[in-house]
């Protein structure tokens, strides 16, 4: 039995999803998992270059950041309703 704050569980899930969207190899996947776990999603999306990822991946992350921030700003319901 253990307790895990939901934010931590959510961050783990986000890291996995992000790794899938970016189609990362195992090494880059580990970097993303650890970066989000240690620094949080906003820090990671805003400053992916800090974590030693290639320019190509950093560019893709900036596109993801633009998309999710637009959806959030426009108040899109995640369920699609």
């Amino acid at each position: 039995m253990y307790f895990l704050r939901i934010e931590e569980a959510e961050q783990e899930r986000m890291a996995e999803l992000l790794a899938n969207i970016l189609e990362l190899n195992d090494i880059d996947r580990d970097i993303v998992l650890r970066a989000i776990e240690n620094k949080g999603i906003d820090c990671f999306l805003g400053n992916p270059r800090l974590f030693g990822l290639s320019a190509d991946i950093c560019l893709k992350i900036s596109h993801i950041k633009t998309i999710v921030e637009t959806l959030f700003r426009e108040g899109v319901d995640a369920s699609g309703h």
């Binding site: 569980a9 992000l18 999603i41 633009t66 369920s79």
Partner: protein
């Protein structure tokens, strides 16, 4: 949608998915650009693109949960609100069963939500003693249980009702009420209260 945001949104979408920018710009000139994400099948994208959009939607759902947790209080004062909340946390989780508990104040606002246990692909254990400890620690007045069925069935099982009864019996003498138990399977949520299967004593929560 402000035009500056539209342009950057469309460009990022095109770069990320490989879809022609001209194609989605044409679509966005006559439609809500966000439909590209919200209704991925309307543009006859290929399977790879649709899969990527669905992953993006799921990622956004997680992002929204974190942002909302930062920005506002979550109030679970109805079965509908509870289903939506737990869908965003447990929707499409198919690797194993997880039991979440939300501890609420007297106004049904979430004080804390925790993962109470994780199990195998079809079973997670319930430890009422630990739930009681956490409920007291949070000064909660109500709790809501939720777990996912890794398979696609959203049917409420006899075991689900029995588990709920154990938690109800543990918390009731302390004046802490279990308001609902939500079961998630894929993108579907079922409320034990709404279904009429919630063990007594239940509560009325629509406010």
């Amino acid at each position: 949608m402000v035009i500056d945001h539209t342009e950057s949104f469309l460009k990022s979408f095109a770069e990320l998915t490989g879809v022609s920018y001209e194609k989605i710009r044409d679509y966005a000139s006559n439609n809500n650009p966000l439909n590209i994400i919200n209704h991925p099948y309307t543009n006859a994208f290929g399977r790879d693109v649709v899969d990527k959009i669905l992953q993006l939607k799921e990622f956004y759902a997680s992002y929204e949960v974190l942002k909302n947790a930062e920005n506002k209080e979550v109030k679970l004062n109805s079965s509908e609100a509870s289903k939506n909340y737990f869908l965003s946390l447990l929707g499409n989780m198919k690797d194993k069963e997880r039991l979440l508990i939300s501890y609420l104040d007297s106004g049904f606002k979430v004080i804390e939500t925790t993962v109470a246990s994780e199990g195998t692909v079809n079973e997670s254990a319930i430890y009422p003693r630990e739930i009681v400890k956490q409920a007291l620690f949070n000064d909660s007045v109500f709790v809501i249980m939720a777990h996912n069925h890794p398979g696609e069935s959203c049917n409420i099982s006899a075991q689900d009702i029995k588990s709920t009864q154990k938690v109800v019996d543990a918390l009731n003498p302390l004046g802490i009420k279990v308001a609902d138990h939500i079961i998630i399977a894929g993108k579907t949520a079922v409320s034990m209260t709404e279904s009429g299967l919630f063990p007594s004593p239940g509560i009325s929560r629509e406010r």
